[in-house]
Amino acid sequence: MSKTIMTVDDSASIRQMVGFTLKKEGYSVVEAVDGKDALSKLKGPIHMVITDLNMPNMDGIELIRNIRAQAAYKFIPIIMLTTESQAGKKQEGKTAGATGWIVKPFKPEQLIAVVQKVLR
């Protein structure tokens, strides 16, 4: 059975690119437009989350904290995909429970390499 990855981004074009990239490699994709939307869709088998940092309603850091608070998703990989590259923000993400950090723009093969690495 293919693994399911949730992609959270307020940019439809980023969600589209991440979705295409993951689906081509056989992953199932659940899309969410912000942290709040993501939490409402966090049900059943979600094996990984790829989230933006800055989003309306609930940002990426808050989302990570909320995900880690749920026993079922306490240990799933969470990658932040963002335009931010500051050490402070990175540390904030790490403290909240992020598994890794990718700065946009990404190459499809790069995203796949990260996904394969954290999901194996």
Binding site: S13, T99, F106
Partner: protein, 618 residues
């Protein structure tokens, strides 16, 4: 960035305030949604890109299937079997056997001519025997009762002479028939040589070259498939680059949203300091600080807008470039197939049709050849029978020779019994004996000649048997039919697949070209961003007039604070470039890795750098 520095007309504080506030209000309205409104265009492009990628992978699959078909087991085995059958046919059409037969037939002809000369010699012996018979009869009459036994002797001699006449006549008659057979065999063998030559021409001129064409088609198809795979990799690389460009939309959108926010903030701060600015003569204190700050923020926003515009245009142009690259690669595939199929179409016939025609022609030649061989075989059998009959006649003549010898001995004995009076008969007996020796010599010669003919006959019969080995011919023909049928199936299938691949490549290539030609939204977005930048730059020029750099003492501290407000790497680089610092992105040195994996992932799989500079696993 000081584009309006020299040309901006002098402005008063109040006018600056009013005009700048109006510009900021207008810009806030205009910038809102400039980039985000193009998101649906970007999404449509993304959809197209994804569909094109899927279709290009499908093309690669088609090309691979095609190569598997044309260079697959059936084709290779058919080509191998065709070459083997060609070898066998070449063996059958070998002229050496026919040329040997022609040489043997010439030899037999010469031998028969020689035989006729020797048979003439038998006539001389017969004459002598007849004379001796008459002489014996006369001598017997002269001796009266003593020579009575010699009369019987004379009868025997005459009878033997008749036998020789009969048998040599039969030999001559058979030699004539044999000559007739040899002539026919020569003609038929020459016919076979012609058939063999035409068969060889068919094999060499039609079959071999077309088999080579088929093999070459197989190679070209494999090369095409390889080429398509290479092009598909290029397409994948183009798509990967396009995905990279697609994300610029999000980055630019954020940059422009930040400009919007900055414009909003500037307006609010201007409003807050309205009185100080409007009422001052020469700006100083808080009012000067505010105007100086507004000037710097405007300069930075102009740079951000210019960068956004350039990045947006560059991203879309790059995307279009990649799409055009994909279209070119796909249309190149179609062109190569067209060329490949055109080469086939430009020929008088396809390689396979050539092979079929060649095989049909060879089939005809082989059947004709087999029929002529059968006829020749019958002729050779008749030759052998005639030679056997002639040999039996020679045996009869040999028998006559032996009888002559016995008669001669008998005559000598009788002459001795007769005494003096039989002396003449003794002479006759010696002459008869001499003739028997002569007859034996002649029969030996005839016998030798017939042996030679018999040897030639064996060679001819053996060669003829090879010609009319119908089993082998039918076996080859059956095998050729089966091969052509198998190759036909592959050929028909591959032609269909070539056509499908070309049609799909054409369609996909044209779709991508059409899509890339339709895209122009980036120029509209760029125009709006440029207009906004120009308006903001006007206001920046006024601010710098009112608070020139040399009077702007807190600028350095302000710039630092402004820099720290930005968390996007791109925006920080723009800030650094706008105010004279060298951006990290341009130095190629980044303090922060763009990719990071945290905790235990950072040690998984060795060097984390292999994920790229923009990835960190913690």
């Amino acid at each position: 960035m000081a584009r309006y520095e020299a040309s901006t007309p002098a402005i008063g504080n109040a006018e600056f305030f009013r005009k700048s506030r109006d510009i900021l209000i207008e810009m806030e309205r205009k910038l809102s949604g400039v980039v985000s409104s193009s998101e649906k265009d970007f999404l449509a492009l993304g959809e197209g890109l994804n569909a094109f990628h899927g279709q290009s992978l499908h093309l690669a699959d088609l090309a691979k299937n095609l190569a598997d078909l044309t260079s697959g087991e059936t084709m290779l085995s058919s080509l191998g079997r065709l070459s083997e059958e060609l070898e066998r046919m070449t063996g059958i059409c070998d002229l050496r056997r026919s040329e040997e037969s022609i040489a043997e037939l010439g030899k037999v002809n010469a031998i028969i001519d020689n035989l006729e000369g020797i048979i003439v010699e038998f006539g001389r012996i017969v004459k002598k025997l007849s004379m001796l018979g008459i002489s014996t009869r006369i001598e017997s009459a002269r001796l009266g009762s003593k020579g009575r036994g010699f009369s019987t002797l004379a009868d025997d001699v005459e009878k033997l002479a008749n036998n020789i006449v009969n048998y040599s006549g039969l030999i001559v008659q058979n030699a004539g028939a044999l000559k007739g057979y040899v002539d026919s065999a020569s003609k038929r063998t020459m016919g076979i040589i012609d058939t063999q030559k035409s068969c060889s021409i068919n094999i060499f001129e039609h079959l071999k070259s077309n088999i080579d064409s088929l093999a070459s088609m197989t190679e070209r198809s494999a090369a095409l498939s390889k080429g398509v795979t290479v092009k598909t990799n290029v397409i994948s690389e183009n798509i990967s680059q396009a995905v990279l460009s697609m994300q610029s939309h999000d980055i630019v959108r954020q940059q422009v949203e930040h400009v919007e926010q900055a414009v909003h903030d500037m307006r609010a701060i201007l409003e807050e300091n309205r009185e100080g600015i409007m009422d001052s003569g020469e700006l100083s204190g808080q009012a000067a600080e505010t105007v100086g700050w507004v000037g710097d923020v405007l300069q930075l926003q102009c740079s951000q807008l210019e960068h956004s515009k350039d990045r947006f245009v560059e991203a879309v142009e790059s995307l279009l470039g990649n799409l055009r690259g994909v279209a070119e690669s796909i249309l190149a595939i179609s062109g190569e197939i067209r060329e490949l199929m055109g080469q086939e179409a430009g020929q008088e016939q396809t390689a396979l049709a050539g092979v079929e025609r060649g095989i049909k022609a060879v089939n005809g030649s082989l059947r004709e050849f087999s029929r002529e061989g059968e006829e020749l075989g019958k002729l050779m059998a008749a030759v052998a029978e005639t030679i056997a009959a002639m040999s039996s006649f020679v045996a009869e003549i040999e028998e006559v020779g032996s009888e002559i010898e016995l008669i001669a001995i008998n005559a000598s004995i009788k002459a001795a019994h007769t005494g003096e009076e039989g002396a003449a008969l003794g002479v006759l007996a010696s002459a008869i004996q001499g003739l028997s020796v002569e007859a034996r010599k002649q029969t030996d010669e005839v016998s030798g000649i017939l042996n030679e003919i018999s040897s030639s006959s064996e060679v001819l019969q053996r060669n003829a048997a090879g010609y009319y080995d119908n089993t082998q011919v039918e076996e080859i023909l059956g095998s050729l039919d089966a091969i052509v049928s198998a190759v036909s199936d592959v050929d028909r299938e591959s032609q269909e697949r070539f056509a499908r691949l070309r049609e799909q490549s054409d369609r996909l290539g044209r779709s991508i070209q059409e899509l890339s030609e339709r895209v122009d939204f980036h120029t509209k977005v760029a125009k709006k961003l440029e207009e906004a930048r120009e308006s903001l730059d006007r206001s920046r020029g006024w601010a710098k007039q009112l608070v020139p750099l040399e009077k702007d003492h807190n600028r350095s501290e302000r710039l630092k604070k402004l820099y720290e407000r930005y968390t996007m790497e791109t925006e920080r680089d723009v800030h650094a470039a706008a105010f004279g610092a060298v951006p990290k992105a341009l130095t190629g040195k980044s303090n922060e890795s763009d990719v990071e994996l945290f905790d235990d992932f950072s040690s998984k799989g060795g060097d984390p750098d292999d994920l790229g500079d923009n990835v960190d696993l913690f």
